[in-house]
């Protein structure tokens, strides 16, 4: 069923009895052309673009729990393409362009809201670094705008400009950045894929890969074996666990990132704002709650919960730029497991096992990449060559020395 204003009117007049579930609940077939492991944002986007752009529909998406139960439902919903390096920026700008057309494309309301993102800077050297990044963004076709202190004082008077330690000197705007209703992204992609014939199979944990003589011919699941010409793993957060079933060790550590929501407030924040001297990013949801987060906890973990020192650190970051939030109360906090890669950048690649593909290592930036990640992974699966904007996301880049290290901190995953 196609969603439209006319349809809402028609359903409203007939007691809303004609709405259908967004996707079927099929039993797995014994064989598919492509099996995607993981029905999160990236996995569902991959299935959607495979069906829509590359005409492949004999596909199953296997999910251990329920659809969208991982990081697609646990992030702080920010979209942006304000990266610097050549291996990253064109990819994230492609993602931004896909976000801009996404709702029309998959006919579903994902509440894409380009309410802008502002990265604050606090010193002259940091301003120089942001100018450089802004130029790099402009070269890749993205938008970037430098705001000086006077402009910010007019636009965001509540910021602590005269903070003794970290005075605010200006900021880098990306006006096209913003937020998206994260669950709706998973639901929209799932519905679009399902309508085109993709089987989305929930409660179907993968327990092993059928690998013989260096060729992957399918997966074993709790609902029986499923043969496949290609197996595409897309389980960020659990990459280490799942790929160890194929005997692979990855340039990835698993870490927990916490996020927080306050009680609902009247509109106070126009867009996304980030602190430049610590790690803190905040936006306000349509319900009024401030949604914010900061650093990862910093130690290997697969537990979807964090510890208190980071809560304190994040709160301090918030208080350093906007003291007005000191009286709001936290309603909820939660944690999600991140694939922290050795250079802070992701992987979309074939593995050394024929027929086995890997997508992961998104650190804590996977949500904004969802559309492009799905698109490029679909391209790789359909054509067996990387998409032009994702050629750098190779698993062997450390061996070759072609790292994509935005932050320049080296092989220390908890610092990316």
């Amino acid at each position: 069923m196609r969603y439209s204003a006319l349809n809402i009117l028609r359903q409203g007049l007939t007691g809303n009895k004609g709405w259908k579930p967004l996707w079927r609940d099929p039993t797995p077939k014994p064989e598919y052309d492509i099996v995607i492991v993981g029905a999160g944002g990236h996995g569902l986007a991959t299935a959607y673009y495979l069906a829509k752009e590359y005409g492949l529909t004999n596909i199953a998406v296997l999910e251990k729990g329920w659809l969208g139960s991982g990081n697609i439902g646990r992030n702080t919903t920010i979209i942006r393409s304000n990266y610097m390096l050549l291996g990253n920026e064109p990819f994230y700008e492609m993602s931004m362009k896909l976000w801009e057309g996404l709702e029309q494309d998959f006919n579903y309301n994902a509440m894409v809201s380009q309410r802008s993102i502002l990265n604050l800077f606090h010193s002259d050297p940091q301003r120089d670094a942001f100018v450089r990044r802004a130029n790099s963004m402009l070269l890749a076709g993205a938008d970037a705008e430098l705001a000086d202190e006077a402009q910010l004082r007019r636009e965001l008077p509540f910021l602590d400009f005269d903070n003794a330690r970290f005075p605010i000197k200006g900021g880098l705007y990306q006006r096209r950045g913003g937020t998206v209703r994260h669950d709706a992204v998973a639901w929209g992609y799932a519905r679009g894929a399902d309508q085109r014939g993709v089987d989305i199979i929930q409660n179907c944990e993968v327990t092993g890969f059928q690998i013989k003589n260096g060729v992957c011919a399918g997966v074993d699941t709790v609902r029986g074996p499923i043969r496949a010409k290609k197996v595409a793993v897309c389980v960020a957060g659990s990459s280490g666990r799942v790929m160890s079933l194929a005997g692979m060790r990855l340039p990835i550590e698993s870490h927990v990132l916490q996020a927080f929501v306050t009680e609902g407030l009247k509109p106070v924040l126009p867009g996304v704002i980030t602190f430049g001297a610590g790690h803190f990013y905040v936006s306000q949801s349509d319900k009024g709650g401030l949604v914010f987060g900061g650093d990862i906890d910093g130690y290997n973990t697969y537990a979807q919960r964090g510890n208190l020192p980071v809560v304190e650190d994040v709160a301090e970051g918030g208080m350093a730029i906007m003291p007005m939030i000191g009286r709001t109360r936290l309603l909820r906090s939660w944690g999600g497991v991140m694939d922290m890669s050795m250079d802070g950048s992701p992987f979309i690649d074939k593995t050394h096992i024929d027929g086995l593909y890997f997508n992961g290592g998104w650190c804590y930036g996977g949500f904004k990449a969802t559309p492009a990640s799905g698109f490029c992974y679909a391209h790789l699966l359909a054509k067996d060559t990387p998409h032009p904007v994702a050629t750098e996301y190779r698993l062997d880049r450390f061996r070759r020395g072609h790292l994509i290290d935005e932050k320049g901190v080296g092989a220390q995953p908890n610092l990316h």
């Binding site: 280490g240 666990r241 160890s244 060790r249 990855l250 340039p251 990835i252 550590e253 698993s254 910093g298 130690y299 290997n300 973990t301 697969y302 537990a303 510890n307 020192p309 050795m342 450390f398 061996r399 092989a411 220390q412 995953p413 908890n414």
Partner: protein
């Protein structure tokens, strides 16, 4: 998390800096025949288990000792804490 320091007793994990997989102590031989491959695996392909994990913590805001902590990555439960120095000496055969 509380780390039970072998010399100082229970200390808050916030006093420590985390480095990661304890096999970083076992540096490959730079003169060995496959040194490039071994250093790639050493630096980039670390253990990342869901379960028991041996890892290096540095007591930066304390006695500046390196510890080898055995911790469960699913429950955060710490089962063993050793001085990294002791671990290294034992590995070298008590020298």
């Amino acid at each position: 998390m509380i780390i039970n320091h072998p010399l100082l007793g229970p200390r808050d994990a916030a006093e420590f800096v985390y480095l990661g997989d304890a096999s970083l102590m076992e540096r490959p031989d730079p003169q060995g025949p496959e040194a490039a491959d071994n250093f790639h695996d050493y630096a980039y392909l670390r253990k990342n288990p869901a379960g028991e994990h041996r890892e290096l913590w540095y007591h930066e805001q304390g006695d500046r000792s390196w510890l080898v902590v055995t911790r469960n990555t699913l429950t955060h439960e710490i089962s063993k804490v050793e001085l990294a120095r002791d671990v290294a000496v034992t590995r070298r055969g008590g020298q």
